[in-house]
Amino acid sequence: MAKGKILVVDDEIYIVHILDFSLGMEGYEVITALDGEQAIEQARKEKPDLIVLDIMMPKLDGYETCKVLKAEKETRDIPVILLSAKGRNVDQKVGFEVGADDYITKPFSPRKLVERINSILGQTNPQRMQA
């Protein structure tokens, strides 16, 4: 049984792929989206437990997507981890301003990401984890 459902959003196929693998190995169910619009759709439909969101994407970027997700009642409470090559302090600040719960810079270690996810989900949704 899955530890939880994670929505991975990134326009880079390789990243989606490796995260699918790592999170899968860890016991999570992974759904994917390749851009911001798809992400919002998926979030509304599948109601994941956590969203891993890349910032640099065409059409709707990560910041905007996050804003939208945090504004809607249905998706507001889903924790969002921003994932980005933009690592400056100001970028992180913007990330937190749009309501993200965490910010990880690329290149990153999938292991670390998994640990972070574990800890966030451990905190917010202990019941879900057992369900």
Partner: protein, 868 residues
């Protein structure tokens, strides 16, 4: 308040003592008692009354005089403070001249200033002089040494110098300007009197001087007046120096601002560069790190072999991507660091394209894209760096293939004209959005970063292509319709233009040197000559070379023609042109060159307003026939233009703007002539021949010929591709082309306004202008821009219209095959009465029959580019 005045005059002293004595007498009389009343006393009293009256009149006169002086000083002070506030040199010196006129009472004022760092004094401001006097004085500069020699101690008044007409030295002064003053009494100011007030700066250096004349009070100046002038002069010096400094400061500030802007731009680019590159680098690194991390975490043994293989594959590919990226960055750096090792040798572009196609073929096939090579011209040779060309073609080609979906087509096309080659890479791919098309040649610009994932690239490639094109002196641009395809077009000149050599340490200003350089280039183009030299006259009358094409630096530096010797010397002395075709006479005096390919030689004087500036020599015609008298006429016309620009360049700063405009006009003309010359050298000869056939006199025929070299001047201001690329004319472009005729007119207007003294030049230019203005008019009145008809169209324009059409038919155009002369004539015949003047068409036919067109290379040669 008692102020010490200059001191009472003798008369005043006497009167005062008289008065004192009178008072004494009155006292004495009073003391001696009234008994002394009688005749002598009454007389005495009357006398005293008279004395008193005289004294008070004197007193009031003096008071008046003082009041007037005070008012004048007040006025001067006021103007001085205004002057001190004036930072602009031109208005400043004008104001100074006018003030001297208004306030100090001299009707005629001339202000001369020394050129900064120079040894001559130029007239910069006038008051009370008419335009012809101004022109005369403006033209004659005064040598500083000469001026100083006039300042003899005999003439000195305070710190200024008054040279009386009576002094024998007065006759030795140069002629300057002598006003009409009418009859003068011996003690009054005469017309030939001169008062010079030198302007000396803080270091004791001469800055210039005032020369004043025709005082209102007609008097020889008093010490007081001179001193007032000098006070003025002192302030003027300060103000002038300030203004000059100000100008320098403004210029430097502007230069600094521009440099600052550029630096900011660079900074921005650098920042963007760094940020983009670091972002670009992180992306493959992310993948590499993520995959290797996962591999390690999971343990190699626990992974199914297929998965292991897949992961390692990704790591490998991303590592390669990283490598490519780094290499492109290095490439760009290498390119920037200077292409010093790149050399230009003759390279056939067509061949390079064939090679590149071979390389690209495999990739294209793999992607299902059809690759075609099209060659529009047999000869696509140019001077270039082979490696760079190959890089350029490969990059454009691979881009095209990359961005074209399967089933599409990529065409590599080569073509060109006699002076340039063109490469076009056309695809039926995804195209480039309109907002991006201008930026794609910027470094690191990528239309859409997501594209780069699917199509590995770094955004640097096109920037390198642009650098390559520009290094060769050419350009690159792109057209695209998103969804339908793109076309990248590169134009490269076939060869770099030969450089004009200028005389080092010539002492001429930059603007004059520019004029000479442009002049040499223009003459070489128009007359198709391999060697042109512009010589100037030295003080001793000998000639030295200032600018030359086809001669090397040493010759330019060392050649000196003594007065009157050799052909150039003869031309300088006799002020007449020489045209020769015999070998023995064709040595360029002093150049060390003994003979030429054809032995023909043209030499004409360069004169402006009667003054000889130098001599212009032309030899080594590239068409391998001797120069004719007609060439000499053409050269004379060019010489006038150049001489006027030269003389304008020698005048003061105030004419700088004029010279700049002239230079711009010359440049435009030159660029145009270059192009037009390559297109149809025969056109000029034919135009002349037709004009002569019509019975025009040789001068008018030369004007027409000259206009033939210029007649599409307006076209140079419009993108040449607009007309050349063979697409049908949209109404928009038609309108733009119709405007070109008026643009041409404006450029010629510039040519006509410089050197306004040359009335003949103006008339010639007017004639040319009319021809240019009207050469698209039709005989039946349906032409443009004015819709003139019949003989209201100037005859030169009618000739050009026909010659133009004929040449265009015979030479062919990108969208039209060349025709034979017979066919072309038939076409013209068909259009007589509609487009062309029937007499002109007949004259054209006769001229062609007489062989006027055989000078031109055969039509095929023009298309193939082997002719010129």
């Amino acid at each position: 308040m008692r102020r010490r005045r200059k001191g009472p005059s003798d008369a005043e002293i006497k009167l005062r003592s008289d008065l004192r004595r009178a008072h004494h007498e009155i006292d004495k009389v009073r003391k001696e008692g009234e008994s002394q009343v009688g005749h002598p006393l009454a007389e005495r009293v009357q006398e005293l009354e008279r004395i008193k009256e005289r004294l008070s009149k004197l007193y009031f006169t003096q008071l008046d005089e003082n009041r007037r002086r005070a008012a004048r000083l007040h006025e001067i002070l006021r103007v001085l403070s205004e002057i001190n506030a004036d930072r602009e040199l031109e208005t400043l010196v004008d104001r100074i001249a006018r003030t001297i006129q208004d306030v100090l009472g001299f009707r005629i004022v001339l202000v001369r200033l020394r050129e900064p760092g120079g040894a001559r004094l130029q007239a910069v401001a006038f008051a009370g002089l008419g335009p012809s006097a101004q022109a005369t004085l403006g033209r004659q500069a005064v040598d500083v040494d000469d001026f100083l020699s006039w300042l003899r101690p005999d003439f000195k008044v305070s710190h200024s110098f008054f040279i009386s007409h009576r002094h024998p030295f007065s006759a030795l002064l140069p002629d300057g300007y002598v006003p009409e003053l009418g009859k003068r009494e011996p003690w009054e100011w005469h017309a030939e009197d001169v008062l010079l007030v030198p302007l000396v700066d803080g270091q004791g250096e001469l800055l210039g001087y005032f020369s004043v004349d025709d005082p209102v009070d007609r008097m020889v100046p008093s010490l007081e007046t001179v001193e007032l002038l000098e006070v003025f002069a002192t302030h003027a010096v300060v103000a002038i120096e300030n203004a000059r400094l100000n100008r320098q400061i403004t210029r430097r500030t502007r230069e600094l601002e521009e440099a600052d802007e550029r630096m900011n731009e660079m900074e921005e680019l650098k920042t963007r560069f760094v940020s983009t590159v670091s972002h670009e680098l992180r992306t493959p690194l992310t993948a590499i790190r993520a995959y290797t991390d996962t591999l390690l975490a999971t343990g190699v043994d626990s992974l199914p072999p297929a998965k292991l293989q897949e992961f390692l594959q990704v790591v490998d590919e991303e590592a390669q991507r990283l490598t490519r990226l780094i290499e492109s960055v290095l490439d760009l750096r290498r390119f920037d660091a200077g292409n010093r090792r790149a050399r230009r040798v003759p390279v056939d572009l067509g061949e390079v394209v064939e090679e590149a196609a071979g390389v690209l073929q495999r990739t294209a096939e793999a992607r299902g894209v059809e690759l075609k090579v099209a060659r529009e011209l047999a000869d696509t040779c140019l001077d270039a760096d082979r490696d760079q060309l190959r890089q350029l073609v490969l990059h454009l080609g691979s881009n095209a293939v990359k961005f074209t979906p399967s089933g599409g087509q990529v065409t590599l096309r080569t073509g060109g004209r006699s002076d340039m080659v063109r490469l076009e890479v056309e695809d039926t791919g995804i195209g480039i959005p309109e907002h991006a098309i201008e930026k794609i040649f910027d470094r690191f610009y990528q239309v859409d970063s997501s594209l780069s994932r699917r199509h590995p690239g770094s955004g640097i490639g096109l920037a390198i292509c642009k650098s390559i094109a520009e290094w060769h002196g050419g350009r690159i641009h792109a057209r695209s319709l998103p969804g339908e395809g793109s076309c990248f077009s590169v134009q490269l000149p076939r060869s770099s233009a030969p450089r004009v050599v200028l005389r080092p340490d010539s002492g001429l200003s930059d603007s004059v040197r520019n004029v000479l350089r442009l002049g040499v280039e223009m003459v070489a183009e128009v007359l198709d000559a391999g060697a042109v030299s512009m010589m100037s006259v030295e003080e001793d009358g000998s000639l030295v070379i200032q600018a030359a094409l086809g001669l090397d630096l040493q010759v330019v530096r060392e050649a000196r023609v003594p007065v009157g010797s050799g052909v150039a010397g003869w031309v300088a002395v006799n002020r007449r042109p020489v045209c020769t075709s015999r070998t023995e006479e064709s040595k360029v005096p002093g150049s060390g060159r003994a003979s030429y390919q054809t032995g023909t030689f043209l030499s004409v004087p360069l004169e402006a307003s009667g003054e000889l500036l130098g001599v212009l020599n032309v030899t080594e015609p590239k068409t391998e026939r001797a120069f004719l008298v007609e060439d000499c006429h053409l050269l004379l016309e060019l010489a006038e233009t150049i001489a006027h620009a030269w003389s304008a360049g020698l005048a003061t700063d105030a004419r700088q703007a004029q010279v700049d405009t002239t230079q711009q006009a010359l440049r435009t003309v030159l660029n145009h002539v270059r192009q037009s010359r390559r297109k149809a050298p025969g056109r000029v000869a034919l135009a002349r021949a037709v004009a002569l056939e019509l019975g025009l006199d040789p001068n008018d025929a030369s004007t027409v010929a000259f206009a033939a070299t210029l007649h599409d001047v307006g076209m140079t201001m419009i993108d040449p591709d607009l007309v050349e690329d063979g697409r049908p004319l949209t109404p928009d472009r038609k309108q733009q082309i119709e405007r070109h005729v008026e643009l041409g007119d404006r450029v010629l207007e510039h040519l006509a306004t410089m050197g306004a003294e040359g009335v003949e030049l103006l008339e010639t230019m007017q004639g040319v202008r009319e021809i240019v203005m009207s050469h698209h008019e039709w005989w039946d009145g349906t032409g443009y821009p004015c819709g003139l008809a019949g003989t209201t169209i100037p005859v030169g324009a009618r000739v050009l219209a026909a010659v133009d059409a004929f040449e265009s038919l015979v030479a062919g155009r990108p969208h039209r095959r060349p025709e034979s002369a017979e066919t072309a004539l038939e076409v013209l015949f068909g259009l007589r009465d509609r487009q062309f003047d029937p007499d002109v068409v007949d004259a054209l036919q006769r001229a062609v029959a007489r062989g006027a067109w055989t000078h031109a290379p055969a039509a095929d040669d023009i298309v193939a580019g082997t002719g010129r």
